[in-house]
């Protein structure tokens, strides 16, 4: 019974549907006796109630912090009234001394948390029961509309280069062969004419002779070659320490696309110190567990990657509990500091040298920048990567996007932005700075110069000064 989740393959979906139908038929036969509560409800209304009350502890197809609910109609061994009472007031239901309920309690109490009273009406219960038996089937694979950069095939430039090289070598061979042939022919003519054959010359000697005879052309060619090499060297030098598109392999195949695009999680949910600290913060394992305590299987990687979080924090998905120190057999509801797990050692993607001081909080909280301004369309990334200027500039939907031309994460890129970005004039801090300026004539003159282009950029407030970032 896995109709709840998005089912990735068509054939599997069909199988699932068939089995659900089969179950319906069977259960319809067997539960005639208490058809009233199990059959009268509206599954769609039940879905709403289920999602607001039951889902905290229950799932349909697997145990969460309470047993799975699918098949409850088949299992329930007591009266409908007792079912209603059990849901509305479990303690009252137990107090009646009902055998089935007490047996159930004894069986599960060690494993799960106690059932708590739910403020639901009998009609709600009917709807939920209908929903449990007849959950709405997801209509085929839902297209998330999320595309990752890896889905786009990049043109293989390397191959073209290789062909050029092969062609070049062929060209040289052809030229040399042609020269050889020409020489043989020339010798043949000389022989025919009864002259001495040409003196033996290596290819190099002949080339030199040719160059000597065509000095103007050779010089011109040499000049072009020198210019070409210098330009090439310059381009290479400008590429040193440019880390655009750097995308190291990570210990966990984490997909930003799945989290950001498909599940619409805000960047700051995981990178939660971006407004407080210079570090945006790599989410700690307990933050992952906020969701992954329940989401135990990924759509793309199954349980393999998620289980690495569990290993780090000591979570046992089979019992939905956390482990403590070695030798501690208690099942804990929350992560334990005493658990001696290996933390996840991520490979740092955005590396700034030690002599650069960069603060996320300054840019996000004070500067009001959107993450995407610098990090690009993260929703299209799988593992973390350094965005490139082209990608970053392409995000027309980002409010206040500042388009830049220098490669990302270079100093040129930083100061280009500091020259374009405007300061927030409404901030009282800057208001005070302006007041001080307007108090003196020299200040007013400075202000006039600053406002010549109707902008007050970060640079004009010292954003290009060395000690803003280097100390």
């Amino acid at each position: 019974m896995r109709a709840m989740t998005v089912i990735p393959s068509g054939t599997f979906l069909q199988k699932g549907l068939l089995s659900i139908f089969a179950l319906f038929l069977l259960s319809g036969v067997s539960i005639n006796s208490h058809a009233a509560i199990f059959d009268e409800g509206d599954p769609e209304a039940g879905a709403l109630v289920f999602d607001s009350y039951c889902v905290t502890c229950h799932e349909l197809d697997r145990a969460k912090s309470a047993p799975a609910l699918a098949g409850v109609a088949d299992r329930w061994g007591s009266t409908e009234e007792m079912l209603v009472m059990w849901i509305q007031s479990p303690s009252a239901a137990r107090a009646t001394g009902d055998d089935y309920i007490n047996n159930m309690y004894d069986k599960y109490s060690s494993q799960y948390a106690d059932m708590t009273a739910q403020l639901v009406s009998v009609d709600d219960i009917k709807n939920v029961m209908a929903y449990i038996q007849n959950p709405p089937v997801v209509d085929g694979v839902q297209e998330s509309g999320c595309v990752t950069i890896h889905d786009v095939k990049l043109e293989d430039e390397g191959t073209t280069d290789k062909w050029f090289l092969v062609l070049g070598i062929l060209f040289i061979i052809v030229i040399l062969s042609a020269a050889g042939v020409a020489r043989s022919l020339k010798n043949a003519i000389r022989e025919r004419d009864g002259k001495e054959p040409l003196a033996h010359q290596t290819y190099w000697e002949r080339t030199k002779e040719w160059m000597w005879n065509n000095m103007a052309f050779t010089s011109l060619l040499g000049l072009f070659a020198t210019i070409f090499v210098l330009v090439w060297l310059y381009m290479q030098a400008m590429g040193v320490a440019v880390v655009e598109n750097y995308e190291p392999e990570q210990p966990i195949w984490f997909s930003h696309s799945v989290h950001v695009c498909e599940n619409d999680i805000d960047c700051e949910y995981c990178h939660h110190s971006s407004r407080k600290s210079k570090h945006a913060g790599i989410p700690t394992s307990d933050v992952c567990m906020n969701c992954h305590k329940d989401i135990q299987e990924g759509t793309k990687t199954g349980t393999e990657e998620i289980s690495k979080i569990y290993a780090a924090i000591g979570f046992d998905p089979s019992t939905n509990s956390y482990k403590g120190a070695e030798g501690d057999s208690t099942m804990h509801f929350g992560p334990q500091d005493s658990f001696d797990g290996e933390p996840i050692a991520w490979n740092k993607v955005h590396n700034l040298p030690d002599h650069v001081y960069f603060s996320h909080a300054q840019h996000v909280e004070v500067g009001g920048l959107d993450c995407k301004n610098c990090h690009g369309p993260v929703e299209t990334f799988t593992v973390g990567r350094v965005s490139n200027t082209e990608l970053t500039n392409s995000q027309t939907e980002v409010p206040g996007l500042i388009e830049l031309s220098k490669p990302t994460l270079t100093m040129g890129w930083c100061i280009e932005c500091h020259n374009k970005a405007n300061i927030d004039k409404s901030n009282e801090y800057y208001v005070e700075m302006h007041n001080r300026m307007s108090a003196t004539s020299r200040g007013q003159e400075e202000m006039r110069k600053i406002m010549e282009d109707n902008q007050q950029t970060v640079k004009e407030f010292g954003g290009w000064e060395c000690a803003k970032c280097h100390y």
């Binding site: 040193v240 320490a241 880390v243 750097y246 110190s273 407080k276 600290s277 210079k278 570090h279 913060g281 790599i282 989410p283 700690t284 394992s285 307990d286 933050v287 780090a312 924090i313 992560p335 334990q336 500091d337 658990f339 797990g341 933390p343 996840i344 050692a345 991520w346 490979n347 740092k348 590396n351 030690d354 002599h355 001081y357 603060s359 909080a361 300054q362 909280e365 004070v366 901030n427 009282e428 801090y429 800057y430 208001v431 005070e432 700075m433 001080r436 300026m437 108090a439 003196t440 020299r442 200040g443 400075e446 407030f461 010292g462 000064e465 060395c466 000690a467 803003k468 280097h470 100390y471």
Partner: protein, 1066 residues
């Protein structure tokens, strides 16, 4: 006809001596350490030709370039389960209290990602506004000392705590009641409770002693006031202070607290300014700050108190010397007129001397105003007589088990030999010291205590005040708090935290512990007023200041007979940096120049330079004060002890006397006290003596002290001083000892002159005139500011203008700012050898200037009848008893900075907030800037201090553990760049960011540089000069403020405030 005149630069050149020939053939007079790079013998043998060299170089560069293309993969490891209160990258501050048996301060501990990295004062709740000193702010390094014990040890082998406890319990039960706990002064009520429990469980005896004893003061107060305690001194109430050999600003009792109170009355703008007389033999930090300083021999010091007693209380007069008598008479007049607001204090530990001091203070009515014995300080309860008896008992085999807690008697007890001999006879010896130090290494069982930053504790400094100590990091090693150990050994298994909370209720029970909210407030603030002051076993306070009961005549005659003087007299003092030696292995403190002599990494025999030149007991000594001079070594013997040290000239030292600092010579028996406690050589290895033992820094002078009347005294007469003939180089950081008449560096006046023109506008008063330059056709001259070829820099009145005002009057030169700057800015420690080469890296230094006999060049010429050249030379010499000025000097952040214009790569530039910015990653190391700096505050980074082997034993960055102390917000500079004070730009940036985040202007006082924060006397004020209401603005506009070297016209953002001496005769 050609000119045949011959010019020569020296007699050597004229005569063409051999030495001269040799000297000119060498470009460098001294060996260059570059030989070290090429020092490898194999390298010398190989004959690498120029072309080979170029090939190798080309290959290396190519290889390095290729290798550099591949960026290393850096790991980034988040918490598994993030603690709630830690945000990576944001500092947390925790209130705590520092107490090591000597210094005491309420502190705030800065932690980053759970690591303590900086200690500053607890401004809001700490004693004396959280005043700290260099020893306190440097103590953070001790936490990360890798020489600390890693866990318990039994008979030299590692063991588990269970094994240790079993051994201790066996030893204690075998001792059968003959158990003693030996400790420094314990001021913690809960620790006292634990000790009481231990005493009850084992019939034990508790002996306290202090490394530097004050038991004479206690004893005197016991007989005069019936309270065996040291009084609480209130220097902020003292209008006239007469101090006799008492360094209350540098090391006496809780000097940081005294300095704070003293400094608050050293501002002439205030209601009144205190007048300070200092009578002493050695030039102490306190003496250098005195308004009137009278050099006396130690025996004269005591007699002077008797003389003062006669003048104030009455009785037969005592005569010392002509000058001394006159000074005593003047002091007595001033003291009497101040009445209750007078304070007499003596550094002597002789109960008879202290008895006279008590009589004087009592007669003046000072008790209750400037000092109090009814609310005494709880510090220094050490009892020398009890300690002495313990040593006797140990030697007699009457002590079967000894627990040593927080003290090091094998090092700092005056009869360490006797103690060590007794220790061998004790069956069970247990040390709880953090190190296997002099005492610990001789004990059989080691139960290492936690560092104070890993511990819980409560401290009761005086009255009902309880200061809290809270841990700021989990124990780094397998250590256990001693209080918990004591409880465990007494059969109580309560953890110390619970035990601590239990202390604060009448029943000492768990049920009545203070409420969580009350407790957490106390922990948060670092202090609380105890509802019921917990009992410390001392201080039976009377209801009112008790009447004096002292037989003055008896005391006077005792003093007269005890201090006849004779021969060479010696005074022992605690050095300002090293204190009593507990932090002898702290490289920050070792490299902190002594406030007076500017000597680093060494101990020495202080002698008057005039004695040295004219002969001290007939022997002359080399006495040129300079940075890398050699000095003669001498052996000093007295009281059965002897030390061999270089003899160093100290102007102001009483002629005919010598002084030696305590606290040096740690680890002389090769104990594990920390690697920086030993001397290192030219290439960084530890120096070894003939037996292959590491050579300690300086020598231990505690053995020169002796017992008088059951108290250890630190002076001696008839001392034997013998020159050994050996040579020794002493590293100092200052070459120029006088200002040679340049009044634009230090400005100074007397209080009378100041008061006469108190209301003058800035630049108008005769004692602080605007510097004028002569102009053609005018006799008046014009102010320097009128000659300006620079464009006006836009920092004035626009945006921020960060600046500082340094009050030379309240600066006492203690060096707290220097070490705070070191800690905050990851300033490298360079070691003695590099200091000798003038390569000290202090971003901030304190220039100390002695006055010469004649203040101006003209006066010198006229009075001495000598020529111009000789007059200048003469001015280099300090006076016999010179007046002293301490002047903190760091980058002045000139608005017209000479360094900026000469940098070929624009690595040093000016910010629009008035900062002179240094961009290390742009610097190519030409050092033009340093050459062009008129203040000489730029430091060139010669080595990769964090990696090069020469600094292995000194530089904190070289130890895996110790480098945890580095400030992650400041880059660790590497070789080949210039560095200097950045005005803590990282703090400015953080402060501005906090303001912007909250959408408000920066508040005055919100941003503090490390030095301003560490100054115990608030001599340094930092702030935004463009903020009209800021403190720094008002100080900058004050008529005392001036710019150092104003005539060079660099327009600094640092203002100095004229020093005003309360000495109207000068």
């Amino acid at each position: 006809m050609g000119n045949t005149k011959k010019y020569w630069t020296g007699v050597d050149e004229l005569l063409q001596t051999e030495a001269h020939q040799e000297a000119i053939s060498n470009e460098f007079v001294k060996d260059q350490s570059i030989d070290e790079f090429l020092g490898d013998e194999r390298l010398k043998e190989s004959s690498t030709g120029r072309r080979d060299f170029l090939k190798f170089m080309g290959f290396s560069i190519g290889a390095a370039t290729l290798a550099a293309c591949e960026a290393p993969v850096i790991k980034s490891i988040p918490y598994v389960n993030k603690p709630d209160d830690i945000v990576p990258g944001v500092a947390n501050y925790y209130a705590s209290t520092y107490y090591d048996g000597h210094d005491y301060a309420g502190v705030m501990v800065k932690t980053r990602e759970g690591r303590p990295i900086f200690i500053k004062g607890n401004k809001d709740f700490g004693v004396a506004g959280g005043a700290v000193n260099a020893r306190i702010n440097s103590s953070i390094l001790g936490l990360y000392d890798s020489a600390r014990l890693k866990g318990p040890k039994k008979d030299g082998a590692n063991c588990s705590w269970d094994d240790l406890d079993a051994a201790v319990n066996a030893g204690l039960s075998a001792a059968n009641g003959n158990v003693t706990i030996l400790s420094g002064t314990v001021v913690s009520p809960s620790t006292h409770r634990a000790i009481e429990e231990f005493k009850a469980a084992h019939g034990a005896n508790h002996v306290q002693y202090d490394a530097r004893s004050y038991s004479g003061v206690r004893k005197a107060h016991e007989s005069s006031h019936g309270n065996a305690a040291v009084p609480l001194y209130m220097f902020d109430e003292a209008k006239v202070i007469a101090s006799f050999g008492c360094d209350f600003l540098g090391s006496y009792m809780v000097s940081n607290i005294f300095a704070n109170a003293y400094g608050s009355r050293r501002k002439p703008e205030g209601e009144w300014m205190s007048k300070h007389y200092q009578f002493e033999a050695n030039m102490s930090l306190t003496g250098s700050n005195a308004d009137v300083r009278i050099p006396l021999t130690p025996s004269q010091e005591s007699l002077a108190i008797a003389a003062l007693h006669a003048a104030i209380v009455g009785g037969s007069t005592v005569s010392i010397s002509e000058a001394g008598d006159a000074a005593i008479a003047k002091a007595a007049t001033d003291l009497k007129s101040a009445g209750a607001n007078a304070l007499v204090i003596s550094g002597s530990n002789d109960p008879n001397v202290q008895m006279l001091v008590n009589a004087i203070n009592s007669s003046l009515g000072a008790y209750g105003t400037t000092l109090s014995i009814d609310t005494p300080a709880n510090f220094y309860q050490g009892d020398d007589a009890a300690m002495s008896k313990l040593v006797t008992d140990m030697n007699a085999g009457q002590v079967k088990a000894l627990v040593i807690y927080g003290c090091n008697p094998s090092y700092d007890w005056h009869d360490a030999e006797g103690f060590n001999a007794g220790l061998v006879k004790v069956a069970t010896t247990i040390s709880t010291n953090l190190f296997a130090d002099e005492t610990g290494s001789k004990c059989k069982l080691l139960a290492p205590d936690c560092h104070a930053l890993e511990s819980w504790n409560d401290l009761n400094p005086f009255g009902p005040r309880i200061d809290m100590v809270q841990p700021t990091i989990s124990p780094l090693f397998d250590s256990r708090q001693t209080q918990e150990s004591l409880l465990k050994w007494s059969g109580n298994s309560t953890d110390y935290y619970t035990y601590l909370r239990q202390t604060y209720n009448s029943e000492y029970s768990e049920a009545l512990m203070p409420t969580d909210s009350a407790w957490h407030t106390a922990i948060h603030n670092g202090t609380m007023m105890a509802p019921k002051p917990p009992a410390l076993p001392v201080n039976t306070a009377a209801d009112a200041e008790s009447p004096l009961q002292v037989d003055a005549a008896l005391a006077v005659s005792a003093v007269k007979s005890a201090y006849k003087g004779g021969g060479t007299e010696l005074s022992l003092y605690s050095s300002v940096a090293i204190g009593n030696g507990a932090q002898g292995a702290n490289p920050w403190l070792q490299e902190l120049p002594d406030p007076i002599t500017k000597v680093t990494w060494d101990n020495y025999i202080a002698m008057s330079p005039m004695d040295m030149a004219e002969g001290f007991n007939g022997t002359t000594y080399r006495h040129t004060m300079g940075q890398n001079e050699s000095f003669d070594v001498a052996t000093v013997s007295v009281n059965g002890g002897s030390v061999t040290l270089p003899v160093f000239p100290v102007p102001g030292q009483k002629r005919g006397t010598i002084s030696i600092a305590l606290g040096y010579g740690r680890g002389a028996g090769q104990e594990e006290v920390g690697k920086a406690a030993f001397q290192t050589g030219e290439y960084g290895a530890h120096l070894t003596d003939d037996n292959g033992n590491k050579v300690p820094i300086g020598a231990n002078a505690f053995g020169l002290a002796s017992m008088i009347d059951g108290c250890v005294v630190y002076t001696a007469a008839n001392v034997d001083v013998a020159q050994t003939g050996a040579d020794y180089q002493v590293a100092t950081t200052q070459m120029h000892n006088t200002i040679m008449g340049r009044d634009s560096i230090v400005r100074e006046t007397t209080l009378a002159a100041y008061m006469a023109e108190k209301g003058a506008a800035k630049g108008e008063a005769s004692w602080n005139e605007v510097h004028k330059l002569a102009v053609h056709g005018s006799t008046e001259g014009q102010p320097t500011r009128d000659f300006d070829m620079w464009k006006k820099h836009p920092v004035e009145d626009i945006g921020h203008r960060w600046g500082m005002a340094i009050d030379l009057n309240s600066c006492i030169g203690c060096g707290s700012c220097v070490t705070a700057c070191h800690v905050e800015n990851n300033v490298p420690v360079v070691g003695k050898d590099e200091v000798l080469r003038h390569r000290d890296m202090h971003w901030m230094r304190i220039d100390r200037f002695f006055a010469s006999d004649y203040p101006t060049h003209k006066e010198t010429k006229e009075k001495k009848g000598i020529g111009a050249y000789d007059a200048y030379q003469d001015m280099e010499h300090a006076a016999e008893n010179p007046e002293t000025v301490h002047m903190p000097m760091m980058c002045q952040h000139c608005n017209h900075a000479p360094c900026e214009t000469v940098c070929p790569v624009a690595a040093t530039t000016h910010s629009n907030e008035g900062l002179n910015q240094m961009t290390y990653n742009r610097c190519i190391g030409t050092r033009y800037c340093a050459n062009n700096c008129p203040y000489k505050v730029r430091r060139f980074n010669w080595f990769n201090y964090a990696g090069y082997k020469k600094f292995k034993f000194q530089n904190p960055a070289q130890d895996e553990l110790t480098r945890m102390v580095l400030n992650p917000d400041v880059v660790v500079r590497s070789r080949g760049v210039m560095e200097k004070c950045s005005m803590c730009v990282q703090r400015i940036q953080t402060g501005k960011f906090d303001a912007k985040k909250e959408g408000r202007p920066v508040k005055d006082g919100e941003i503090q540089t490390a030095c301003a924060e560490a100054c115990p006397t608030h001599a340094i004020t930092f702030g935004d000069h463009n903020d009209q209401s800021s403190a720094v603005r008002s100080e900058g506009d004050n008529n005392r403020s001036y710019h150092a070297l104003e005539e060079v016209g660099v327009q600094p953002n640092i203002f100095y405030m004229t020093k005003v001496r309360n000495n109207n005769e000068a």
